[in-house]
């Protein structure tokens, strides 16, 4: 029976054949016996656009593969199956004094997904992307006799480098060995600093290079001299404190799909104003990792907030030299369109040091946005933003994309042809079919 699956942005809604992977031995079986064209590994379904969808094909659900295969708590090295979520990993490693080396904005992603998207976080300026901390992984491929193959920075290096950021197309990841980061407390010392312009943001980011984590929330309705104003946030893990793990049970659930008029120019303006004026906007003090890294995880199904038609995410990165000019142009276009983004996040990235061949990150400025899907009006705005990104030789993050043109993808990721040649022929995704079209 085909089932309809939506991605996290809820814009795309396709029929899929779902197959539960209950044991590692099911992976190769599924690849061999797939009857519906192509397959794609599917974890928590948190990618926003269509990179985790495979319309009319098969999705191999990996979330039952969540065993620990090895753990060295002296060295902080764990070998875990790919379907384990980062939240489940934290439940185990935090009490032992270890944390994720790189953490995205949600803990509800699988380790396999973290590798496939070579995810980054608020500490990119210090440590690069997730791929830097992958010591080894095992990969099932339909076209290899000795599958699964173990890939490390020394062994099967080409396949290792390709798999980090290959969007799940280079094979199905069975397990990953990760180097964790030592912590002595589950709390962070955080400083929130309201700032008034893009220049101030860059100044703050530059002078905060020694802080482990930094990021800024941007008010998309600011204009003129105040363009890019927002709240800059920087943090370090506390040296003292307790190792309290997050609560894995009680969470609120967004109860229904909110009518789409709920998020409009006026309501976002009010939200932005309140967000800037609230007392927490200038907060300096200690915060638990759960509220610092994963504020939205507190609400189940927050994606339903954007109405029935869902929403688009958009994250671009532009090189350091031209970053400011590009972001200024983008913010102007958004302000003029009146379609403000509710959650706009700005970050100054350091050089990308991970081995991932298809990495999104580079040294420069990245801006993450989200827009409720209002049909043509929204896609027109996205087109306009993309044109600016393209002009400044920037690129877009596939995990968040549901929209970029094949031409833009191919010019900004010229190494895509290598992935196209070396991907597992049994694997594909809606995203890949969209962006690998001949242009």
């Amino acid at each position: 029976m085909p089932s309809r699956i939506k991605s996290w942005g809820r814009v795309f809604d396709y029929d899929h054949h779902i197959r539960e992977i209950s044991a590692a031995s099911d992976i190769s079986d599924s690849l061999k016996t797939c009857v519906s064209g192509s397959s794609l590994a599917y974890g928590m379904g948190r990618s926003y656009g269509d990179s985790n969808l495979n319309a009319s094909g098969a999705l191999l659900k990996t979330t039952r593969l969540k065993a620990f295969l090895k753990a060295d708590w002296e060295a902080g090295v764990v070998k875990v199956q790919a379907g384990l979520t980062l939240g489940e990993l934290l439940q185990v490693c935090v009490p032992k004094g270890w944390f994720l080396p790189v953490s995205p904005g949600t803990k509800y992603v699988t380790v396999g997904g973290a590798v496939a998207n070579n995810i980054h976080g608020k500490n990119h300026h210090k440590v690069g992307s997730f791929g830097n901390f992958v010591r080894a992984l095992s990969l099932h491929r339909s076209d290899l006799k000795n599958s699964p193959v173990i890939c490390t920075p020394l062994q099967n290096k080409k396949l290792f480098d390709l798999t980090i950021g290959a969007l799940g197309l280079s094979g199905i990841i069975e397990w990953v060995e990760i180097q964790l980061k030592p912590i002595s407390s589950s709390f962070l010392y955080v400083e929130n600093i309201p700032y008034n312009s893009l220049d101030e943001f860059i100044e703050l980011s530059t002078s905060s290079q020694d802080w482990e984590y930094s990021v800024a929330w941007v008010d998309c309705f600011s204009r003129g001299k105040e363009l890019g104003r927002g709240i800059f946030s920087r943090a370090n893990f506390s040296k003292v404190g307790t190792l309290d793990v997050h609560n894995s049970q009680s969470r609120l659930t967004w109860p229904f799909v909110t009518p789409s008029f709920f998020l409009n120019k006026a309501s976002i303006k009010v939200f932005n104003l309140l967000y800037r004026k609230r007392s927490g906007a200038k907060y300096c003090g200690y915060t638990h990792y759960d509220s610092f890294f994963y504020p939205l995880d507190g609400i189940n199904n927050w994606n339903k907030l954007y109405g029935k038609k869902g929403f688009y995410q958009h994250q671009c990165i532009i090189n350091r030299a031209q970053g400011k000019a590009a972001i200024t142009e983008i913010l102007k276009v958004i302000e003029a369109s009146g379609q403000g983004s509710f959650l706009a996040v700005l970050k100054l990235h350091g050089p990308e040091t991970s081995p991932g061949k298809m990495s999104f990150c580079m040294e420069g400025l990245s801006l993450a946005l989200d827009f409720p899907n209002k049909g043509n009006k929204t896609t027109a705005l996205l087109n306009e933003i993309d044109t600016i990104v393209e002009k400044y030789s920037g690129r877009l993050y596939p995990a968040k994309d549901g929209h970029m043109s094949a031409k833009h993808f191919q010019s900004s990721y010229p190494q895509w042809t290598y992935l196209e040649q070396h991907k597992d022929p049994a694997l594909s995704s809606s995203f890949w079919r969209r962006v690998s079209k001949t242009v």
Partner: protein, 253 residues
């Protein structure tokens, strides 16, 4: 005797709910003994639980459904574990009723696994805990045991009999003066595990093994006797139980 790190005996140590329960025990740094038939799966689970922080993890391979061997296995397990504080009985077979309808052997085997052997294991654990002064026996039953339905009364009858058995055991435990025994029967509804992969899934009635495992541990701590998991099944089953037969017979439940 009080032990700093309790020891929990998990019968059916390869089932998804049992494993979720054992993972919580590992997090609490308990001693765990896993019992089941599939040696390689048990061994993988041992590695997983050790990595997650269990004080100690051991495995024991045997056919839990073989009711003639319960005493022998119990002694061996006790030698292995030293002592036991809690027992979770989580094994069972769902089976296809169409098959057990056509085969007396399959039906006999299903009743043997789901009821006879479970009753004997519980009784043996009761005897042990009674001697030692305290203990917890938790048995996973099923909402299917609340009313016989044409589609799965073979499974349901065993689970229903088990409910009466545990009820009686709880009564007996309450009357004990020399020992403090806690007896718990969990009645889950639909759980998303490999055991139910042949059914169509999705929707609010389906629960994850992790959710059921959390309910089990919470109910043990609170000293509960019978718990539907999740809670709403209690009301669904109340309606199903009280439906008059002339209405019930028209359904294809």
């Amino acid at each position: 005797m009080k032990h700093e790190n309790p020891t929990v005996l998990v019968l059916g140590g390869t089932s998804a709910v049992a494993m979720a329960y054992a993972r919580n025990a590992a997090k609490a740094e308990e001693n765990i003994v896993l019992v089941g038939r599939n040696k390689s799966k048990l061994e993988a689970n041992v590695v997983d639980l050790k990595a997650r922080g269990a004080k100690s993890v051991q495995s024991y391979v045997c056919d839990l459904g073989d009711s003639t061997e319960v005493e022998a296995h119990w002694s061996a397990l006790l030698t292995l574990a030293g002592h036991v504080d809690r027992v979770l009985l989580a094994y069972g077979v769902l089976g296809e009723q169409s098959e057990s309808q056509d085969s007396a052997n399959i039906l006999r085997r299903s009743l043997e696994i789901n009821f006879v052997s479970t009753a004997l294991w519980s009784e043996r654990a009761f005897q042990y805990f009674r001697q030692h002064g305290s203990g917890q026996i938790t048995v996973i039953g099923s909402v299917a045991g609340d009313r016989g339905r044409q589609s799965n009364y073979h499974y349901g009858a065993a689970k229903g009999a088990l409910a009466i058995f545990m009820d009686g055991m709880a009564h007996r435990a309450a009357k004990l003066k020399e020992a403090k025994l806690k007896i718990l029967l969990i009645k889950p509804g639909f759980i998303d595990t490999p055991m139910t992969d042949h059914l169509e899934k999705g929707g609010p009635l389906w629960a994850s093994p992790e959710k059921i495992a959390a309910i089990i541990r919470k109910s043990e701590r609170r000293g509960k006797r019978v718990v539907y998991a999740p809670w709403f099944w209690r009301f669904i089953l109340m309606i199903i139980r009280y439906l008059p037969f002339f209405v019930f017979k028209r359904s294809s439940l």
